[in-house]
Symmetry: C2
Subunit: 281 residues, 2 copies
C-alpha cells in the first residue's frame, strides 16, 4: 500500500479515479482536486474552517429551491460565472461582448412593434429612455428579422417576477430588427439593485466586505437562426457600481451613454447601441 501524506494525498485521489470514466470527467476532477488541495496546503485550511465551509454550503442548500439556486449566486459573487461566460464566448471578429444571462430572464416576453414601450405601468418619477440601434453581422451587413429580447428592473429595483405589484411581463418585450437591422423600444432608465443577500450569498458578501449592488442595466438576448445568439447587458454610463458590480459582469464595451433625447421622441433620454453577431459555428 502507498502511504497517504500531505504530499501524496493529491496523487492518491487521482489514482482512485476509475479507468473507464469519460476523459472530460478525468480532466475536470484531476484539475479540481489539485487546485482544492493546493489551496488547502497554501493557506493551511484548518479542520474548523473546513467544517465552517461545509456548514455554509448546507445553509446555501437550505435557502435554495426549484426557483432559487444559491450556489449560482455564490459563483457570481466570486466572479466565477462571468469568467466561465467569457471562456465560453471568446469574442471574435469584432462581435459584441456577452455577459451573464442572470436569474431573471423569462421566455415568451410580449412581442411588440418597433418603438413600443416595455413598461406596462406608469412611473411618473422615473426617467424614460428611447433605446435604438442596429443589429449587424461581423462583416457589417444588417441582420433583418433578429429577435431582440429585452428586460429590466422597475424603479423599486425589482424584476416583475419578484414583485406582486407589477403586471405580468412588465418591463419585458421582444422586438424584431427591420431591413436595415434597426431596432427600437421605449423603456425606463434602469436603476441599480441588490442581488438577493438574505441567504448564504449575503453571508459571503459580508465575509468579503463587499456589497450586493449591481449597476443599472438593460438585458438583451438577440438571436436569429444562422447566428450565434448574443446574451448581454447594456450599462448606463452614469450609474453607480459600474466599477464594483457585485457580480463583476460589466465590460467597457457594454457601457452606453444616456443622452438627452430630442423632443419628438417623447422620452427623457436616448441611448444608441449597435450589436454585432457572428455566424453560428
Amino acid at each position: 500500500m502507498r502511504n497517504i501524506t500531505i504530499e501524496t494525498i493529491t496523487e492518491a485521489v487521482e489514482r482512485a479515479l476509475g479507468e473507464d470514466i469519460p476523459a472530460r470527467n478525468r480532466e475536470l476532477l484531476t484539475a479540481l482536486v489539485r487546485h482544492i488541495h493546493d489551496f488547502a496546503r497554501e493557506v493551511r485550511v484548518s479542520h474548523g474552517e473546513l467544517l465552517q465551509a461545509c456548514e455554509f454550503l448546507r445553509r446555501a442548500g437550505d435557502i435554495s429551491d426549484e426557483k432559487r439556486n444559491e450556489f449560482i449566486l455564490i459563483a457570481d459573487i466570486l466572479g466565477l460565472e462571468v469568467l466561465v461566460d467569457m471562456l465560453d464566448h471568446k469574442v471574435v471578429d469584432g462581435e459584441s461582448e456577452s455577459t451573464v444571462l442572470g436569474p431573471f430572464y423569462r421566455e415568451q416576453a410580449p412581442v411588440l412593434p418597433t418603438g413600443a414601450d416595455i413598461s406596462q405601468k406608469s412611473y411618473p418619477e422615473q426617467a424614460t429612455v428611447y433605446v435604438h440601434g442596429a443589429v449587424r453581422d461581423t462583416d457589417g451587413r444588417p441582420i433583418e428579422g433578429a429577435v431582440v429580447d429585452v428586460w429590466e428592473d422597475a424603479p423599486n429595483g425589482l424584476y416583475e417576477q419578484q414583485d406582486p405589484e407589477q403586471p405580468d411581463y412588465n418591463l419585458r418585450g421582444r422586438f424584431t430588427s427591420d431591413a436595415e437591422g434597426g431596432y427600437a423600444f421605449r423603456a425606463l432608465r434602469p436603476v441599480p439593485y441588490p442581488i438577493p443577500y438574505d441567504g448564504a450569498a449575503g453571508e459571503l458578501l459580508r465575509y468579503m466586505g463587499h456589497h450586493p449592488w449591481r449597476p443599472g442595466h438593460i438585458h438583451f438576448k438577440i438571436s436569429k437562426p444562422g447566428y450565434q445568439a448574443l446574451i448581454t447587458q447594456i450599462y448606463d454610463a452614469e450609474t453607480p457600481y459600474l466599477d464594483n458590480d457585485a457580480v463583476f459582469a460589466v465590460k467597457e464595451s457594454l457601457v452606453g451613454d444616456f443622452l438627452p433625447a430630442p423632443p419628438e421622441l417623447g422620452t427623457d433620454f436616448a441611448l444608441t447601441f449597435d450589436f454585432i453577431l457572428r455566424p453560428a459555428a
Copy 2:
C-alpha cells in the same frame, strides 16, 4: 473603470474585498478565488458545466439536514478532509498519526473496565479480537488515566445509530489506561462498509468511477488533560480497501496485525497497538 477580461477578473475580485475585513478572510478568499479561477481557465469550464455543478450542490443541500452534512462527505471523497486533518495535526516527536473523526462518533460511550467486551449483542458468525497496548508520551513514559474511547461498526457494516436493530451505544466503550499506560478491550474484527452513497456524494463517486467502501477499522479517541488528544483509526492489515479507501484516511503507521490469539484470551484474534501522545501546546 477597469475592464473585466478573462485575465483581469481575478484581480477585480481581489480588489473588491473590503479594506476592513480580517486578515484571515482576505488570505482565504484571495487564495480561493485564484485557485477557482485558475481551475476554470485551465480546463475551460463551460457555462453548462458550471450550472451542472451548481445543480449538484443544490442536490447535496437537499439531502442534508441537521444530522447529515453531504458537503463533508463530498470533502471526504475528494481527499480534502484527510488533507486538512494532516495539516492541522502535523506529526512531531514520534507521536501517533491521527486521522479523521468521521460522522459516527458519539460522546458519553459506556465507561467499561479493562478487558471488557464492547459488543452488547452476540455475533456468533463474526471473529472477535482482543485489542491491547499502552498509551505513552513522546518521551516513552506511560500515561496513566488516559481515556481510550473506541467505536466500530457491526458485522452488517452499520454503526449502532444507523441501525435500529442494535442496542444503544453498541460497539462503543471508554476505557482508562493503568499505571503502565496499558489499555485493553474485546471487540469484533471490524468489517468494511460503504459510506452513504444514496445522495450527491454517491453521484460524485460514480462520476469519479470510485467505490464507497472503507477498509475495516476501529476508531480511537485518546485524551488526557495536559496532552494533545489523539483521534485516529486502526486498520486491519488484512482488510480489503486498505489501498483505496473511499475517503483516503489510511496511513501505514495505523495498520495493525490481527494475530491468532492465545486460548486464554477467549477471542479469535489479538491486536497489539501502542499510542504516543504529545504534550498539549
